[in-house]
């Protein structure tokens, strides 16, 4: 596809920004997590775009690993969220403020 790389990367930036806003705004822990996944995904998109632009497969390999890591992270993260729910009976992250100083 002959699209200027900067456009793709721009899309990636936009998706990333949306992910940031999601992390900051939403109170549901799971939705926050999903926003983080969105950010990761945006990053992956940028990698692929640059791999295409520089004709190097290294970017794609990196994305591969990123996905693997994301998977692991999600597994553990969701287990954590379940544990927290068992303790606090809520996944509103605003209620997890016991680090308040």
């Amino acid at each position: 596809m002959n699209v200027p790389t900067s456009y793709v990367v721009g899309l990636s930036a936009l998706l990333f920004t949306l992910g940031v806003i999601g992390v900051l705004v939403r109170r549901n822990a799971i939705v926050v997590f999903m926003s983080v996944e969105l950010m990761l995904n945006a990053g992956n998109l940028a990698f692929i775009a640059f791999a295409r632009a520089s004709q190097s497969l290294g970017g794609q390999v990196f994305v591969f690993f990123t996905i693997a890591v994301a998977a692991a992270e999600v597994a553990v993260g969701l287990a954590l969220i379940v544990t927290i729910f068992k303790a606090k009976h809520s996944i509103d992250i605003d209620q997890m403020s016991s680090l308040k100083g």
Partner: protein, 172 residues
């Protein structure tokens, strides 16, 4: 306005829309489904960017496994609605400002600076992005990272099991 560009813009619009949908949706399940849509759109973009293998991986792992997992947890916890007042009133405006700033910066970097990313990418060579090519690269140059990644997945598995173990059973 080449066909490529139109296609790209369409896909981009869909991706952004689904992302916004995920963010805005009150229902957590709807958010999950929106994100799935987003991932699939991005996978299509990968295909168009000559990353066939990665696209498949994205669909299989990301959209298929990870999001299903998300869905499971959402169902489990039954957290469709989020209750309570908004305690952090400044959060939304700050986030908006921050997002706009970030967009501005990246826009500046991409389109206004002296970067070389304005040009069109060249034509690809042979089987660029095919599973064979990626596989060869993985198992020749990136062998150690693969092994490490597998170890990582093992650790994650164990961690997930440990974390979700029922402590009442242990007390016996």
């Amino acid at each position: 306005m080449t066909p490529d560009l139109i296609l790209f813009l369409t896909l981009a619009a869909v991706a952004v829309a689904t992302a916004v949908g995920m963010l805005a949706s009150r229902n957590a399940v709807y958010s999950v489904l929106f994100l799935v849509m987003n991932f699939i759109t991005v996978a299509v973009l990968y295909l168009l960017l000559n990353a066939a293998f990665i696209a498949m991986v994205q669909v299989t792992v990301y959209a298929g496994a990870i999001m299903v997992l998300f869905l499971f947890v959402v169902m489990l916890l039954g957290a469709e609605r989020s209750a309570g007042d908004e305690r952090l009133r400044w959060q939304r405006p700050a986030a908006a400002v921050l997002g706009l700033t970030l967009l501005g910066e990246t826009g500046y970097v991409l389109f206004a600076g002296a970067t070389t990313s304005g040009g069109l990418p060249g034509a690809v060579v042979g089987d660029f992005g095919s599973p064979a090519a990626v596989g060869l690269m993985l198992f020749n140059d990136y062998l150690v990272p693969i092994e490490v990644a597998s170890l990582l997945l093992l650790v994650a598995m164990v961690g997930a099991i440990v974390l979700s173990r029922d402590d009442r059973k242990k007390a016996r």
